[in-house]
């Protein structure tokens, strides 16, 4: 066993302690709960054998880069600059823990402070924490945070309105996190054209918070959302979930009245990784600072007056406040946030804009080709889309996806998986790497399915 430096030296160490056998080390475990037989597991392997098995098993997966892929739905097939994993996995970063000892953790603390700054700039709000687990838990904890802050003044006690078109998996996370605080989640209705119904939204005024996404689950940008804060008023928090890349072109929610902005950080820093580890963005107005979840880094000085960084406002956290903490979050996603910071810094302002433009371009190019096809129509014909768009097909979308799969194309997400009444709808996702030939492959495989359905 190559991971145990004291293997074969047990006896000499036991002798020092005054014990005879390794079993003596476990003499405090009562016989009634002792396991006396070996674990019924496979035998140990060498590094070489593990690597071979990993190559075999993971190699049997179909990876997104191996075919035209139009599956996004909240995670993106991005390109991560080579520098990012190479430098972020330097052992000093990789193998450190939460920087409780700032004197020997200035590197990660400064990197996280820089991360906070870049996220703050990105979304247009003054405060960012060092990450949540993912977009869904960021949204969920934004809601519980908003209720803590706005609860007292709210006329609709404990009520939060959530957009009708939040992906159900994210909504489920929100429900699990909200139920314990006695929060009542109500649906914020959208018009038949997919946009938030601003008239209906007036009924949310006086509630604790409103949660909407820009773009929504169908990739649709909603001009009405910039007016939402005026509709719901000062005493109701506006929480906006964003596609982080879109903010290279689309106005930052902090600039149209958002109180809290959340979103998936994954497009910056790491591949989709089968859903994790990724990281959630969480930024807010100062009003929420003392009741927000997660870790935060502040700049200060050391005894000699030198600039120094440290974790701050820890009295909100579970290790100090215990059951009165603002969240139970302890381990977070710092290393992935570090990767995100590196990616953001490499892009710079114009690089971000260009990245957003590339995604907008592939979205538009794909949309034009697909929507020209007979039998296919946009779910909301007038919509402006970023990254994704939903189309109605002449049959079950799951069948279409299976057909396209046989043609070597990952055609998107059948929306029946999310909403029963949308089983004939397909969510098509694009990214900066979508090419004209990918679009052709998508179109021709979809066309051959439509022809089959029509027969």
């Amino acid at each position: 066993m190559d991971q145990l430096p004291n293997l074969g030296r047990e006896q000499e160490m036991l002798e020092v302690i005054g014990l005879k056998t390794m079993d003596d080390l476990f003499s405090d475990i009562p016989e009634e709960v002792r396991r006396n037989d070996p674990l019924p597991l496979r035998g140990p392997q060498s590094e070489e054998e593990i690597w071979a098995d990993a190559q075999h098993l993971l190699g049997s997966n179909v990876n997104l880069d191996s075919r035209p892929s139009f599956l996004a739905a909240g995670l993106v097939r991005n390109f991560v600059p080579t520098m990012v994993p190479m430098i972020a996995t330097r052992g000093e970063f990789l193998t450190s823990y939460t920087p409780y000892q700032p004197e020997v953790s200035q590197g990660m603390l400064q990197a996280m402070w820089e991360f906070q700054t870049m996220v703050s700039e990105l979304v247009g709000l003054p405060v960012s924490n060092v990450s949540m687990y993912d977009a869904s838990t960021a949204a969920a904890e934004a809601i519980t945070c908003a209720v803590r802050v706005k609860g007292r003044k709210a006329t609709q006690k404990g009520v939060v309105y959530v957009s009708q078109f939040v992906p159900p998996h994210r909504l489920s996370v929100i429900q699990n996190y909200a139920q314990g605080s006695g929060i009542e989640l109500r649906v914020l209705k959208h018009d038949s054209d997919g946009r938030v119904d601003l008239e209906e939204a007036t009924s949310a005024s006086g509630s604790c918070a409103v949660y909407v996404e820009q773009p929504n689950a169908f990739g649709e940008l909603d001009e009405g959302i910039v007016k939402l804060k005026q509709v719901i008023g000062e005493n109701t928090a506006l929480i906006v979930g964003v596609d982080a890349v879109s903010l290279g072109m689309v106005e930052a929610p902090g600039n149209y009245g958002a109180d809290i902005v959340v979103g998936e950080g994954q497009p910056f820093g790491i591949g989709p990784t089968a859903g994790g580890p990724i990281y959630g963005l969480f930024a807010c107005q100062k009003e929420y600072l003392r009741l927000m979840p997660g870790r935060i880094v502040g700049k200060t000085v050391d005894e000699d007056g030198r600039d120094a960084f440290t974790l701050t406002l820890s009295t909100r956290e579970q290790h100090i406040r215990r059951h009165r903490a603002t969240s139970n979050i302890c381990s977070n996603e710092t290393l992935i946030a570090l990767m995100g910071a590196m990616h953001m810094a490499l892009l710079g302002p114009e690089g971000l804009q260009k990245l957003a433009l590339r995604v907008a371009a592939t979205t538009e190019a794909t949309k034009r080709v697909i929507c020209r096809m007979p039998g296919v129509e946009l779910v909301n014909p007038e919509s402006h889309n970023f990254r994704e768009f939903a189309v109605k097909l002449p049959g079950e979308a799951a069948d279409a996806v299976a057909h396209m799969d046989r043609a070597g194309v990952l055609g998107g997400l059948p929306l029946g998986e999310w909403w029963d009444d949308m089983s004939d709808c397909l969510l098509i996702g694009c990214d900066e790497r979508t090419s004209h030939s990918d679009i052709e492959a998508l179109a021709s495989s979809l066309k051959s399915w439509i022809a089959e359905v029509g027969e």
Binding site: Q3, L25, S60, D65, G74, A252, L346
Partner: protein, 501 residues
């Protein structure tokens, strides 16, 4: 000092990207939504950033830098092959919503990990979805909550935790809506059954406890505690933060627990990465398994064998019938699960050996510190010896020391000793936890430290106890920065760079 916001190259330079595939994409954004001003991110080139982040890394302490005896955090070596494996496109370039037949290899790893963790914990069903230990706690308590509700027992609104519990335990239960009953430990630091009996009742939903406790000692009466809680109709929850001590020696199932969480970033070496990512799978007994988050990995034999992985099974996702839904949007931290799988494969059925060495190292270091070698240390020079946080013949994977005698003799606090250790190139032990031990240092060496490292650390520790109190109480002296003004950090909040033009 390297300041990323001082990099300010020319507009449009920096990391290169291909152009947009069509020319008029800017028109796809409604005019009223177009961003007025771009974020003030730095404008830097790759060489500048590589140097900046390398400089930052050199100002950061990790396991790779030196001994990291941070109690309760299990800072063991992170095998490097695991990092190589997660760069494979078969995990890095996978979308969790891909059709099952495209991700058979991933599903088979998930299934193998569920099964292995079930065996090691004595539970019936594991889910890998929770992404951190605290989220595992939250998830399990949610399952217990729905179980009680399904049985018409929703009046059970209290969760019991010992006063030595990790802060996440009460925080997680409170997030589910439970009232917390904290019970005092006995004088010996162990679970007090009388206090427990007095606390349980018709309103008990669950008890949350870790064993070995945060003092590093095994609770001998744990099975009795489980009986008391069960007799009152409550459920037993096992905080698996300290699993590294017991693998193959005992398991929570035998102790009478109904639900447990694992910390794959502790026991199974997912790197801690400056605070995360983690992974916090939970295991439950069969009466709770239908409440678990969806989906679980499952499999069925293929007639005639074969299959994508060649093992004769078809793997698929299964939704438990009364699932609580999701706690993370996808399938958890799959990358951490794959690393933990690679770590597990190294040991296989010999995981027991890992726990044996973790416990051997803890007991050895404890002995070496508490019994100074007269040849290297003159006892008269030591101002005051620490005392054991709890009396015990043997400890498990960690132990606690109270520095109260030193504070009394010289004014030097536990924190001062911790800071002085930094000068010698060691990470500080966990400080002032558990709170029931005054001036507490909590030390966990893990199985991956050699005897020589432990000897050297013990000697340095004892040297510090003999040092000039002034020198120790003003430590650290040799680090990148000296003691940081945390009061000013909280009073005068500077949470981002001003980014002025």
């Amino acid at each position: 000092m390297s300041d990323i916001f001082e990099f300010n190259g020319a507009e449009g330079t920096g990391w290169s990207q291909p152009g947009p595939i069509i020319g008029d994409a800017q028109d796809t954004i409604p005019k009223s939504l177009v961003r007025a001003e771009l974020p003030k991110w730095p404008r830097a080139s790759e060489p500048e950033l590589v140097r900046h982040y390398t400089w930052l890394s050199q100002r950061n302490f990790g396991i790779d830098t030196g001994f990291y005896p941070l109690g309760s955090c299990t800072m063991k070596h992170n095998p490097r092959v695991n990092e190589r494996i997660v760069q494979l496109p078969g995990i890095d370039r996978i979308h969790p919503l891909q059709p099952e037949h495209q991700i058979q290899g991933l599903l088979s790893i998930f299934f193998e990990m569920q099964e292995m963790l079930e065996i090691c914990s004595g539970m019936d069903q594991v889910t890998l979805q929770p992404v951190a230990g605290a989220q595992g706690e939250f998830t399990a308590i949610r399952c217990i909550q729905e179980y009680h509700r399904a049985n018409g027992e929703s009046h059970r609104d209290k969760v019991i935790v010992p006063d030595s519990a990790h802060g996440t335990n009460p925080a997680s239960a409170a997030m589910c809506g439970y009232e917390i009953i904290e019970i005092p430990s006995g004088d010996d630091g162990r679970l007090d059954l009388e206090a427990l009996s007095a606390a349980v009742g018709n309103d008990t939903a669950a008890m949350m406890i870790t064993n070995p406790s945060t003092l590093g000692i095994f609770e001998p009466e744990i099975a009795m505690a489980a009986e008391i809680v069960h007799a009152a109709g409550g459920q037993m929850y096992y905080d698996g933060a300290n699993f590294n001590a017991i693998l193959g020696k005992t398991d929570p199932g035998r102790m009478g627990f109904d639900a447990v969480h694992y910390n794959l970033h502790k026991t199974f070496s997912q790197p801690h990465g400056g605070g995360g990512p983690g992974s916090g799978p939970i295991g439950v007994k069969s009466h709770l398994s239908e409440f678990l988050p969806a989906p679980l990995a499952d499999r069925e034999p293929i007639e005639g064998g074969g299959g994508a992985t060649g093992d004769g099974y078809r793997y698929f996702w299964r939704t438990p019938s009364r699932t609580i839904g999701k706690v993370q949007q996808w399938h958890g931290n799959a990358g951490a699960v794959v690393r933990a799988w690679a770590f597990y494969r190294r040991y296989g059925r010999e995981l027991e050996l890992m726990s044996e060495h973790a416990v051997l190292n803890a007991n050895y270091l404890r002995y070496r510190i508490l019994n100074p070698d007269p040849e290297s240390h003159d006892l008269q020079d030591i101002h005051a010896m620490p005392v054991d946080g709890a009396p015990a013949e043997v400890v498990k994977h960690e132990f606690t020391l109270s520095m109260a005698p030193l504070k009394e003799a010289t004014g030097v606090t536990g924190k001062d000793v911790a800071k002085r250790l930094l000068d010698y190139g060691y990470m500080s032990p966990t400080l002032y936890f558990p709170m029931i031990v005054p001036e507490c240092l909590m030390i966990e060496p893990t199985e991956t430290e050699s005897r020589e490292v432990l000897d050297k650390f013990a000697n340095v520790f004892l040297d510090i106890l003999a040092e000039d109190p002034e020198l120790v109480s003003t430590a650290p002296h040799t680090t990148d920065v000296r003691r940081v003004d945390e009061v000013q950090a909280a009073r005068n909040l500077v949470l981002r760079h001003p980014c002025e033009d």
